[in-house]
Subunit: 639 residues, 2 copies
């Protein structure tokens, strides 16, 4: 396919304008919410479309509130300890259980604990009853005609109980809209199909199905459609017949095989193609046969954000559900974010609470990085008119997680290692309500975060080129006035990560200068980079002669991935990663992988728990399992 | 039945002790959580029982990140505006769409916007590409072996997407426990059965079914069992066979027909019968055939609270789900609560935010008042060792509703009228995120709340005995130093509420002294009581001669209920209530029903909305519909 077959220019409509255009158009065709009357017992989670009034009072008769006897109050007057009043069964009193109806001539209940039995037919009492004592009068709970719940309210379990008490057996609620989901793309396959390069498992519609469920709609996923204009058109027309809302994913961009906008233009009304948001720009909004149709972009993060922005309010509109106010949290931005004037940007944020301050750090901003959504604690929306936000500024983040969970999270910023995943998992398993979140910015990045007070902990492994020792000299240099401790005891094997069977026969640092080789590097400030540069310098090797020295990855895993996929022949990283990815490994040396912690945090509940996990047998077993580590006694060393 | 057949003394074990005893016993018999492996696409909301690691990297091949052409970077070097580089199709470049795999010898992508087409086989470019530009390397999103989500995490939609990207097609999760629900009681009937006095619709198990769903379990309701020891025993044994947890409701107390504890003692292990909580004391905890069995009390509020206290953590235990920390809100207690040293008390609270202060007011504390749960914004737990809490103290309330909803609620405290339900419903319908909550404490109570700064608004109708005018003199007396306004314009008909066809032939106040008559009164401080006493005084009638003058109800509806159910022949109240309940009515007079508001609130968003609703046609129509009101122009009068 060629350039001229493509529609490469999308519009760049502002988000609020696109929403207004779309929802105004829907208002024209769909003015009335559909309602249905359903049994009260099946109404949990549904939204009332009119107020619910009690059909009957509750209790609907005068009921005994106690187990005991019911009496005529007037026949008990004058009773006291010295002059008990004697009462005759079926004449002066009858026995009642809680809930039994109280009928004339009886007008009071005496609890069983206050009744002394004389014989089978007679009892005595020591104090008088007052009229209506221990009787639940008709309507004590609710009175016929009283409102139980108002319109447009979500029905909770207790509401169902109350409606039944008021003899409301049916309730009018909004109909759940049916949302048709059409996955498209020649590249997508279903979960158990074979995967070859260029093919991917269709995952977006699986996220959508569950989001629709969360919103309160019914999802209706169609089988994937290949990139064929005719087939996609047929699928859309059918879906518009069978659903209240139709979603097409993907084909919303401007590639050779992106047909959606053209189809909607042909068979319906294309309202918007291209919105000034990032990710999510190539969103399509239209109407086909009076049905709202939304083209959602293909990148998973764009897909999620665009879906939340447009499909959620639309489903809520059908449900007559008020949009809840978003939960916002004020946090300090840990580093500068540059954004463009071309769009409003949605940045996934990791948030931690260090001392009294919430710190928000941007996660990977790539539209294809689903893990940025899995890891995100919130979304920062940067308005279009800002070119970015300075580090240190206070921002408002829309929360995706509980504030409570954020408050109980150990914030670790620093060097990457597989054991952080393992520690996070053991913490999740062992300790209620403590979590570990790790950001991977390299060892020096970790020390700088510590300096700015943005983390509880920084895993570091920085070699001092002069002394050949680890970490302490860096801390003394960068964190002069801070009382810090190192949690020491873990050593890990660093070395060359190589393709299986080492086809290029790499053995020593000198081999990296080989013109046939492509190397992949780590970022500046990472301990692994320091280790590499230290060795190159010691051997007098010129790094500019190494092909690929400029290509920087931020984790061991990404370095190993490059080697595995063939985009590099060699990189430097830890043995555990080479093991996990079944690659070859030649050791360079053993290094200290320490956890740097401000002294004031060392006795906190969270860090105490962390240390006890480092000392646990489970963690030792997991290290053993990974390979490439040596474990000594865990020690706390003041620096 | 007689006293001696009853087991009237329950134990009074402290809550934490009862929980420990019960859960320790369950740990003995049920050490391991059951797990199951299910398709990832069906795993929404389930809880992982082990960490989920990526089976494959994502992307699993080097993928184009753009629509454009892929090239060998080396063949583009040197390109600039004046010296464009010409590239030949299938030799120097090929066209690619986003997501297409990039294979050797190509190692860079140029976006289509930067490509100029010369003819069908040739393009030119104006700037060089650097290696790996616009290529998503293998593992950019996640790397094989990387943890996607840890153990014991609830699976969200985005997690499903990420797992599919990592080619994780199945996931190990905890099994949902099956909770058997056995309603018992000869008095209960199913929703569409006939209701006679003494019969009630079984509602508790319908609340339980939905609570179990909310907790994450599967509910399994059995048909109701009558109060027959043998039948209940059979039902329990069968349910213990078929479920992970068994709930019996009710029969947990000490009435003649409360068999549960005896049965559990006979066929299993009775651990606890009677817990020091209110409501909820007669809860039973036991084990039958290695299945936890809980006897839940019958009063709906006791039932709900006991269920939340015991069944929720039990279901969560089966699910390996961490109990979330409760959401607490600090609020000022609006009035004294007296509690007993005999139990920990759970008080349902209404919360409002007036200016910057959250104010918490206890709702009806009756164990049978389901509406107290429907209306509650939170629960205040008063420890056993406290005899009560003084008004004005700061308390921590466990929230049942969103703080946001509480913050956007108009707090009305004062006189009761049916129109408050109507206003609440119209507000709910018309205005996003504004709510109206009404507490009914009478007109004078409303003025006192205003004095203490606990409400935004007080509906009042207080007749000045001297002048015959309404409200203003009371405000001047009790709210001397406060700037207040009255929202005026609604007048309502007060009068005698009488049995249908007025069998006792009541016509004037003098008739109330008739010995054959039973009257029902309103509480002191209510405007209706003031109106009654004013008339009695004016006519020189002795109130002590009126039978039932001491029996006080707090709303018009409750007065009318007493008349309807025959426990009184006459009361004083508004015409709309008599109409709604189909009772007779003889007018006494028309009174001003005004809304008292501090002047500083009158221009707030919330009160503005309230006033616009008072002026709306919808409200006028509803008043017309109810009958008994006269509407004038709505006016704001400074007092």
């Amino acid at each position: 396919m060629k350039k001229f077959d493509r529609n490469i220019y999308l519009s760049n409509m502002e988000l609020h304008e696109a929403k207004k255009l779309f929802f105004d158009e829907i208002d024209k065709i769909n003015k009335y919410v559909s309602t249905e009357t359903i049994p009260t017992i099946d109404s949990m989670g549904r939204i009332t479309t009119r107020a619910v009034f009690a059909n009957s009072s509750s209790p609907h008769y005068n009921a005994s509130a106690m187990d005991g006897i019911c009496v005529k109050a007037s026949s008990t007057y004058g009773a006291d300890e010295r002059n008990p009043v004697k009462l005759l069964l079926n004449e002066d009193f009858i026995y009642v259980d809680t809930g039994d109806p109280i009928m004339p001539p009886y007008d009071a209940v005496i609890m069983i604990e206050d009744v002394m039995e004389i014989d089978n037919n007679n009892v005595k009492i020591m104090k008088p009853a007052y009229p209506w004592q221990h009787i639940r009068p008709v309507g004590e709970d609710m009175v016929a005609g009283e409102m139980i719940i108002p319109s447009f309210k979500r029905i909770h379990p207790v509401d169902i109980g109350a409606m039944l008490c008021g003899q409301v057996l049916e309730v009018e609620v909004s109909k759940r809209p049916m949302v048709g989901l059409i996955p498209t793309g020649t590249e997508i396959v279903e979960p158990h199909d074979e995967l070859s390069p260029g093919k991917i498992i269709e995952s977006n519609s699986r996220v959508f199905e569950n989001l629709v469920k969360e919103y309160g709609g019914i999802s209706n996923r169609y089988p994937p459609v290949i990139d064929n204009m005719n087939l996609i058109e047929k699928a859309i027309l059918r879906a518009c017949d069978e659903n209240d809302i139709v979603i097409i994913n993907a084909g919303s961009s401007a590639g050779t095989e992106d047909y959606t906008s053209t189809i909607i233009k042909n068979i319906g009304k294309l309202l918007v193609h291209g919105i000034a948001i990032k990710p999510g720009k190539p969103t399509i909004l239209g109407i086909v046969n009076d049905t709202p149709v939304i083209g959602i972009p293909g990148y998973p993060v764009s897909a999620f954000l665009s879906f939340e922005e447009f499909v959620k309010p639309l489903v809520h509109k059908f449900l007559s559900l008020k949009d809840k106010k978003k939960k916002l949290l004020k946090a300090t931005l840990s580093k500068k974010i540059v954004s463009s004037l071309k769009h409003k940007e949605f940045v996934r944020m990791k948030i931690g609470k260090v001392e009294d301050k919430f710190i928000a750090t941007p996660l990977n901003r790539g539209a294809g990085v689903t893990m940025s959504l899995v890891r995100a604690d919130g979304i920062l929306k940067i308005p279009q008119e800002l070119e970015g936000i300075q580090g240190g500024k206070t921002v408002e983040v829309e929360l995706l997680k509980d504030k409570n969970e954020i408050e109980n999270t150990i914030v670790s910023i620093g060097s990457h290692d597989l054991i952080l995943d393992i520690l996070s998992n053991i913490i999740s398993k062992t300790h209620n309500n403590i979590f570990l979140s790790s950001a991977h910015v390299g060892s020096l990045g970790g020390i700088m975060s510590m300096k700015r007070g943005e983390a509880h902990m920084a895993p570091i492994h920085l070699l001092d080129e002069l002394t050949g020792t680890y970490n302490e000299s860096y801390i003394k240099k960068y964190l002069k006035n801070k009382d810090m401790v190192l949690i020491k005891g873990i050593k890990r094997q660093q070395g060359f990560i190589l393709q299986k069977n080492n086809p290029k026969n790499i053995k020593v640092f000198e081999d990296l200068l080989n013109k046939d080789l492509v190397f992949v590097n780590r970022q500046k400030g990472s301990g692994t980079r320091v280790l590499l540069d230290y060795n190159l310098k010691k051997l007098g090797l010129d790094s500019s002669l190494i092909r690929g020295y400029e290509r920087e990855m931020t984790t061991h895993m990404n370095v190993a991935s490059c080697v595995l996929s063939g985009s590099a022949h060699v990189g430097v990283g830890v043995k555990s990663v080479a093991n996990t990815m079944n690659l070859d490994f030649i050791p360079i040396g053993l290094e200290d992988y320490d956890f740097l912690v401000p002294k004031k945090f060392i006795d906190t509940h969270m860090i105490n728990n962390f240390i006890s996990i480092l000392k646990s047998q489970e963690f030792k077993d997991e290290l053993e399992n990974l390979g490439g580590y040596e474990m000594e006694d865990i020690q706390i060393v003041e620096v």
